[in-house]
Symmetry: D2
Subunit: 254 residues, 4 copies
Amino acid sequence: MCRWLAYSGSPIFPEDLIFTPDNSLAAQSLHSCKAKVSVNGDGFGLGWYGERDVPGVYREVLPAWSDCNLRSLASSIRSGHFFAHIRASTGTATSRRNCHPFTYGKWLFMHNGQIGDYELQRRRLEALLHDDLYARREGSTDSELIFYLLFHFGLEENPLKALRATLEEVARSTEASGSRKPFRCTAALTDGRTNYAVRFSTDAHPPSLFWQERSEHTLIVSEPLDTAVGEWQQVPASTVLVTDPGNKVRTEAL
Amino acid sequence: MCRWLAYSGSPIFPEDLIFTPDNSLAAQSLHSCKAKVSVNGDGFGLGWYGERDVPGVYREVLPAWSDCNLRSLASSIRSGHFFAHIRASTGTATSRRNCHPFTYGKWLFMHNGQIGDYELQRRRLEALLHDDLYARREGSTDSELIFYLLFHFGLEENPLKALRATLEEVARSTEASGSRKPFRCTAALTDGRTNYAVRFSTDAHPPSLFWQERSEHTLIVSEPLDTAVGEWQQVPASTVLVTDPGNKVRTEAL
Amino acid sequence: MCRWLAYSGSPIFPEDLIFTPDNSLAAQSLHSCKAKVSVNGDGFGLGWYGERDVPGVYREVLPAWSDCNLRSLASSIRSGHFFAHIRASTGTATSRRNCHPFTYGKWLFMHNGQIGDYELQRRRLEALLHDDLYARREGSTDSELIFYLLFHFGLEENPLKALRATLEEVARSTEASGSRKPFRCTAALTDGRTNYAVRFSTDAHPPSLFWQERSEHTLIVSEPLDTAVGEWQQVPASTVLVTDPGNKVRTEAL
Amino acid sequence: MCRWLAYSGSPIFPEDLIFTPDNSLAAQSLHSCKAKVSVNGDGFGLGWYGERDVPGVYREVLPAWSDCNLRSLASSIRSGHFFAHIRASTGTATSRRNCHPFTYGKWLFMHNGQIGDYELQRRRLEALLHDDLYARREGSTDSELIFYLLFHFGLEENPLKALRATLEEVARSTEASGSRKPFRCTAALTDGRTNYAVRFSTDAHPPSLFWQERSEHTLIVSEPLDTAVGEWQQVPASTVLVTDPGNKVRTEAL
């Protein structure tokens, strides 16, 4: 299980969310409140949109709390749209290529959760990948695989449809494999403009997901960054949250 | 604050202490029971004596729980005498040169604790170092400095005397600096035969230290590796524990 | 292209081959004489047999010339059978999981060369892997894939047959893919007792491979470690070299 | 010996200098043309000015040619003022804290060269440092020390005077130590507006230094980034080059 946040709005320095709040992402890397595991120290990543369509990405295997480069980048790069992620491995290696967010073209993707008995399903699901994505697979995580499956299911034409089809396919695969472990997926996806965030599980325990909408920004988080009551709304299970620049947040059932 | 263990006895694979017990050192790196901070994820080190007088040392900046190399080394290198350490930084950088154990010639040293207001005292204490050790200073920690001070105070002639003089000097320096923070030091030192372990603080709260003596080995630890009652003895404050091959453990007041 | 060496004989410290000779493996990492690329700085690995059937493995992404841990391990661990490898990436990422030697059970494997247009063939070749090896795939290199293919072709029953079948299969796949790039493979394989070293290419330019047989040891290397004339024999193309403890080196045509 | 470049002018993506040219800094990390050593693979750093007075800094121990994060940062962060450096260690450890550029407040500093017999002089020169800089010393290089000495000699009031006094002090110290090795220093310093670049040696062989002035930018480099003749001017020995926004480059004898 991991923790993440997705920000879009007026440009800010990522440190305002990664380091400053009481329950900042760096604080969660040492001790998260709502995660299944308390420590999220198996690497981290920051992906941001700046002057290009393609995002910048910085991923590293150290815990977020101790990386001096992250501290400098987060206080130097101002961005109106970024993803940040801290990782707690569910079995695969601690390596940069297994760190989120994953990127391909203009897209960023990050994930908290797990494909139940992933090793039973990896081959079947990887077989679905387009040739170019298959060849590009660099890591070994279920998360990178889910990202690439989205392209198979038409991400570039219809992101919502691709999200639904991917979740359905992985859920079906999990069941077909005979696994009794759930497929859990709290994930965020963006093309640099619109954010799509899903909260999903094949059992009754999807990972937590919250959001906050203010005049200047929208923020989606695994868990609230501070304890101010009433500021955070919980995303219901089996729901996708869509945030567009200039529009209100909307939710749809998955 | 950090966690460590010092083993001497029949040759074993370090994994038996670093990975196997319920409260193994790797388990403590994620969640220690008795430390001031719960997570000890700012690097680790393993130093062992094998076929040479000079120990082998493996130090890395990743958390001990996730390093694949540590897992392989700890299950491959059998040793009758080794030190293992997991680090929780008290301010200095996460870098290999700041990881314990430190080594010089045949000596190994590791430390849990802190020189209060170290930055106020660093210059004064470094000025005491012999030229060759001053030039050899690679990291920036108070721990490496304490190790090198031991040589200034005659480690190679009389380790116990050097330990006492070093603790005294640092305590005096802390007081002279006007710092109100304590100097705390739970440390282990060895020449490859005899272990010296101290539990010391200038206030009433020295870090925890335990030991276990069996027919086949002696083991000194920051905190017990399992919960079997009666097996572990607490080292009293202001005490040095000395273990020699073939002799019983003895303690002396500092 | 990479550089490697395989030692078997009287136990020695690996530093005698990795650091001491004029053209040691560490020297080759900075400047190799016979490699297609001069610098082999994309990580390294050391795998050795000690007190267990399963080898110990240390792999790291730093260049071999600058890793302080490698220096200590190579001067501390005495072994009568070890593999060492320095990597020059042919496209895949610099990560520990892409460093050689690869290991599975009692086996070690390392490789210099390249599958031509690997990205065109990866899917087809990975589809051949046994379920447990498919699930275990951690990196993204063609080298790890070749290693796992050996198991598909019966490594555990008949290593020579598995080597031949694997080379043939990859060569056939390269041709079938329409690639005009060669498949080059200079590789070493061992179960901890017998070494198998192949020199192979689908074109006329297999990477260099040499060996040296003395009363006390056998040594197989990508390029000679020193310039003493007459001491090194070149392995002919399309040949496998087999070294057993107590027997003379023998070669067979592939 | 190391390689570096300092850019100031219209905002560009650092990749245009670090990766794109034939003899880009990344190319030089594998094979530099004019350096004493060909490979500069002991870490690298990028420091840039963006929206804050304080620069952002990214430093890493991998070779520049293989770091995926550097590639992404260099193509994402547009800056009108940045320093980039690739390191070839002259003896001190490969660690982030030993990588250039060094930063303190608004200042950046990077260096190519060496204090002759540094270990003989380190104590004497470190003794000159202000308390706050002494306490802040994180690495062990002569380069970081030279940077901090500049503050001792009044960097914040008069950078040119501080540069001269520091070079003089280190040269005097080298001589006083009895060392017969030269003190060589080709270094760049900036406050985020003005660049100061020096080419200096106590012997007749200062490291190479070139510059290029165009309408849109000034560029100072250890060696030319491409082979276009007549575009690069060599900085004379014992000279400081000063570049201000809006002014022509001027040189002064040291």
